[in-house]
């Protein structure tokens, strides 16, 4: 079922910084709730997993994704992503447009996702409202994680480990909840722990 | 494969069987016990064809696991006639009023209405329609089923 989902988030960083971060898939992907970065393919795409909970249903989409357009001047990027549920419950494919608007200290990241679902996931009739609701939450999460990563000095964070931990915390378990501050602090705490562990590892 | 022994009493007969825990009660009755009078029409709890009496009350046997019926009493359409084999008032009325055509929804209709009449033998037509509104029938257009139920209720009152 095709869905056009408009979402956005604001961060207190210059758009150049965000641009560099977002366009570096190996860095930004792990910040996306549910995303697991896989190997890089010859065509420049990445293999990947996307774990998402649609209400009571937990899906694990296995597929590939990558940039099909990068427009540095206008800070516009186009991402293509396709995936199939590991348990044979259908698939999803989408084109995601990302536009950065802002100035030297604030950036408004606008994301338009054109997603079409197939198979039983598309037929879970009560899903539409759910998917839209969830998307914004995921994007909010993404924004927070990006900020956290920059805060925690993006240069020193090893993506792999970080992605793993983010995954464990964010995705397969209970989705995060704006009305639930405890959970967010837990998340922040988690990211810093990862960061310090990595420092210690050195 | 997670298999367990269960003991279940269906239409007065006690069965001991091994079941896989994911097996629905509907499939257990039909496949393991060869009681194929209970029909499976949708497997998501809407059509009502699989309705049985579970410890005396109606339940969708496609939404119940066989393992959950361990130590329970189940009555199916095969168990609705009197012990001597004569039709229940409801079965008889269904026949007289042409309350069934293809007969596939009939087991669910009969079990549902058996419970209904056991609690109300003086129903209005609308109450009967409400009572079977969770049972889909594609053949009859329902009216003959309602007529049959009203006739059965009348006979039960006169009994």
């Amino acid at each position: 079922m095709p869905l056009v989902i408009k979402t956005s988030f604001k961060v207190d960083y210059p758009k150049e910084t965000i641009w560099t971060l977002i366009t570096d898939i190996e860095k930004s992907a792990p910040c996306f709730p549910g995303a697991e970065l896989g190997e890089k393919l010859p065509d420049g795409y990445y293999k990947g997993n996307f774990n998402v909970k649609l209400g009571p249903m937990a899906f694990n989409f296995v597929g590939k994704f990558g940039f099909i357009e990068l427009n540095q001047e206008n800070f516009q990027a186009k991402i293509s992503a396709t995936g199939t549920d590991a348990k044979g419950r259908g698939g999803a494919q989408g084109i995601i447009d990302v536009v950065l608007i802002g100035n030297s200290n604030h950036t408004d990241v606008q994301i338009i996702s054109d997603i079409s679902l197939s198979g039983s996931v598309a037929q879970y009739g009560r899903g539409v409202g759910m998917i839209q609701a969830i998307s914004q939450q995921l994007i909010n999460e993404f924004g927070k994680n990006l900020s956290l990563m920059i805060d925690a000095d993006s240069t020193t964070i090893s993506r792999a480990d970080n992605s793993v931990n983010l995954k464990n915390e964010l995705l397969t378990n209970k989705p995060s909840n704006p009305q639930n501050p405890i959970y967010l602090t837990k998340l922040v705490w988690q990211v810093f722990v990862d960061y310090f562990i990595k420092l210690l590892k050195r | 494969m997670d298999q367990r022994p269960i003991t279940i009493c269906v239409n007065g007969i006690t069965y001991n069987r091994e079941v896989e825990t994911r097996r629905t009660l509907a499939d257990f009755l039909r496949i393991d016990l060869h009681l194929t009078g209970t029909h499976v029409g949708c497997e998501h709890g809407v059509c009502g064809a699989c309705t049985v009496l579970f410890n005396g009350n109606t339940a969708r046997s496609c939404l119940t696991l066989a393992i959950q019926a361990d130590q329970c009493n189940v009555t199916t359409i095969e168990g609705l006639a009197y012990p001597d084999g004569t039709f229940s008032e409801l079965q008889q009325a269904f026949r007289e009023c042409h309350g069934l055509q293809c007969g596939f929804c009939t087991p669910g209709m009969l079990t549902t209405l058996t419970e209904f009449l056991s609690e109300n033998i003086n129903p209005s037509e609308f109450q009967v329609k409400e009572a079977i509104s969770g049972n889909l029938c594609r053949c009859t257009g329902y009216q003959a089923i309602v007529d049959a139920t009203m006739l059965a209720a009348k006979r039960l009152r006169e009994k």
């Binding site: 009560r126 539409v128 | 825990t21 579970f54 496609c62 696991l65 509104s133 969770g134």
Partner: protein, 290 residues
Amino acid sequence: MKPAPFSYHCPSSLTEALDLVAKLENYKIIAGGQSLMPMLNFRFLMPEHVIDINKIPELVGVSKEHHQLRIGAMTRQHTIHTSPLVKENAPLITEAYGLVSHRQVRNRGTYGGSLCHLDPSSEQPCFTAALDGVIEVASLAGKREIAMANWTTMYMTPDLAPDEIMLGVRLDIWPPNHGWSFMEYSRRHGDYAIVGVAALVVINSNNCIEKISITLCGIDAAPVRLYAAEKILIDHDASDIAVKKVMIEIENLPDVMEDSLNTADYRRHLAKTMTNRALKIAFERARKRI
């Protein structure tokens, strides 16, 4: 349409159940199974473990405690629907259950199961919010209480941690002279509501509204309690003008959910219709009981 394999657990006590949810990953709890089983049959859900809490006596029962009604999570919907205690203390609930699905489903379906499944169109979260329900949950770490207002974290996702089990709900008992009405629009008898409304009101002898509660389902992921409207109506006379004021609040609801079958506009239209009718009935009943 057969469930994927799972291992089945059937604890006979709460502690046993809490041990299980604490140690198991990727499990689902089966209560009445009337929502879970279809999702298992469709393989929308493919959990590794299914924990059956039908054999835990502590979770069943309806009782009156102080000024509240307590309903155990595993109490069958039919039991609640036909309970004299419920009818006497919360007739709204009895009326609502008349609209919940069909007898065959209510015989098995449970109140707690419905609150955990948390379908946005379901009547049960709606009347729970209307009666300021407080949900009791437990884990090995102890008990926790969540107001219905905070129970929904997001679409069909309750604020229930993986190591927690819902015990029951405490609901406010309204004064004996209150008026009530539960109204909904569904396409067919027994279907999920597209939009439903729970209304409660206390009116004094000068036809003034002393206490009121209005809650909608089918509008958002969580039941929508019209607090603003309630505020406006306190001390207002129970008249058509009062009802009109509520209509305006509904007209101004920020965002109304939408799906492939029913648009936001239609849901809003239904919300107004149902609330309008429910309030009038609730007022009427309240007046009769003055």
